[in-house]
Point group: C2
Chain length 319, copies 2
Amino acid sequence: LPTSELSLIARIRSLARGRSAALRVGIGDDAAVLLLPPGSEALVTTDFSLEGTHFRREWHPPESVGHRCLARGLSDIAAMGGDPRAAFLSLALPAGVPQSWVDGFLRGLLRLASRYKVPLAGGDIAESPAGVCADIVVLGSVPSGQALLRSGARPGDVIYVTGQLGISAAVLHALLDGRKVSPKSKNAAPHFWPEPRIAVGRTLRGLATAAIDISDGLSTDLTHLCQESGVGALVREYSIPRGVSFQGSSLHYALHGGEDYELLFTAPAKARVPEKLAGVRITSIGEIIADAKRRLYLTDSHGQRKPLIAAGWQHLASK
Amino acid sequence: LPTSELSLIARIRSLARGRSAALRVGIGDDAAVLLLPPGSEALVTTDFSLEGTHFRREWHPPESVGHRCLARGLSDIAAMGGDPRAAFLSLALPAGVPQSWVDGFLRGLLRLASRYKVPLAGGDIAESPAGVCADIVVLGSVPSGQALLRSGARPGDVIYVTGQLGISAAVLHALLDGRKVSPKSKNAAPHFWPEPRIAVGRTLRGLATAAIDISDGLSTDLTHLCQESGVGALVREYSIPRGVSFQGSSLHYALHGGEDYELLFTAPAKARVPEKLAGVRITSIGEIIADAKRRLYLTDSHGQRKPLIAAGWQHLASK
């Protein structure tokens, strides 16, 4: 490795001092060594954060890019009902990225990691031919047999979502339209500083029949869930909790906008699902139906039923 | 995700049917779910394979790129004395990479995965702005407390290496010099089709005091081991098993050439280390010495001792 990469590894190592009971050996060996709780299964998820596709350096401060990078992985663990145990960062940097940018990126990532007590336990560093390329891996654990899968939804189950939908996409489209949005604005926080729903996911063990995180948009992620469960779904348009904090948020963004990182889950109609879980509002938005073709429908405010087509997030590249 | 990426995911999923006892849920959920053996610790390693840095499409057939990509991760698990349990592939492709290239890459990767019974259990797909960018993650396991660390070498320990060193670098330099090397040539196999030393690593549990894989070159990787163990080392030049199968192989490549993926390990002088482990030749090349400055020395054939400076692999970018 070139000297600059070795010094970056040393810097990450000194920053990533966070220890945990699970982590036996972290950065500095051929692999990390972790002890998961007895009676648990391991969860593993990997997610790219690519410059130009998932973020732009002129829009997103480096701290936000680092935060969002890790939030993508933590959100997947939340959607499995798991506890995150360690994160691993593979980072390819093009020549000419300032050290201050890399430091800001690591600061944002490690601040979120520290809030969830997730040590940065390893990764890789390389030079990228063009654009920052980060791949985040999160290792989690869940009591054996209790992982929330996409495949467990059954006809008659009620469909729920956490929080509000569409704000992240509304902010992104404002940025695409050339409007200025301050990363410090509280209204834009779901875009710049999304909150993975770890605590909610944990409470859903034994309650939810299926779960997925809304990273690609409600229509797309509900389609994934229905595909895996072999069912259809009926969504009530007027029940969808639209984010209204950011101007321009709309039903379209709530239905199809990605990167909300809220959870979508199903539970039997008889189950008692509270209005709030771990402090986050829970909203019933529809129900699972038997449909061999696994179709989704939207009921509008006039009671009209129309097909709901997956038209979710395609990141920056799609516009 | 664009349609092309969805169809790629479907293709990977259909190819990656390999199941294992460990894998409860593979591709198609928010995270993979794996059950590791009771009484074991988890091992996690991540490694980039970047076009231009780790391979070139004009030199390396796609099957070799896929094989080498996974071999990097498996070799790290071998160096910990672990058993690989599952692999995860994050793959960013530039527009215009032919589908046949991607299929060849997956074929090479999955062929190696199948030989080691490692299911491809997840990953991510994205579009890259330039160059193929693959990040491989391997999850392994090792009986608790038995992982081979870099930090366990003690003065008086004997230093061993597996197999032969330097062939991979010799082939690479031939390619850099514009010479043709057939990927089918048996003599060039250590470069195009490196064999991770999983079986050897397993037999080293309880025998070796420290271990590392030789991915960056003997001089660099022995430096890593000495740094972590807080010791120095003495290497006998004439004992190093130089690969002679490929023309142009030399002491320089054996000392400093990377990507051999052999194991470097230490064991107490009293330990009985066989001449072969799991069918692979084992060679004693020197000994660990007490040195607060953690220096490495090379003894040449005239008995002269000179400093051995880490001058290992810097991949393609360094030439």
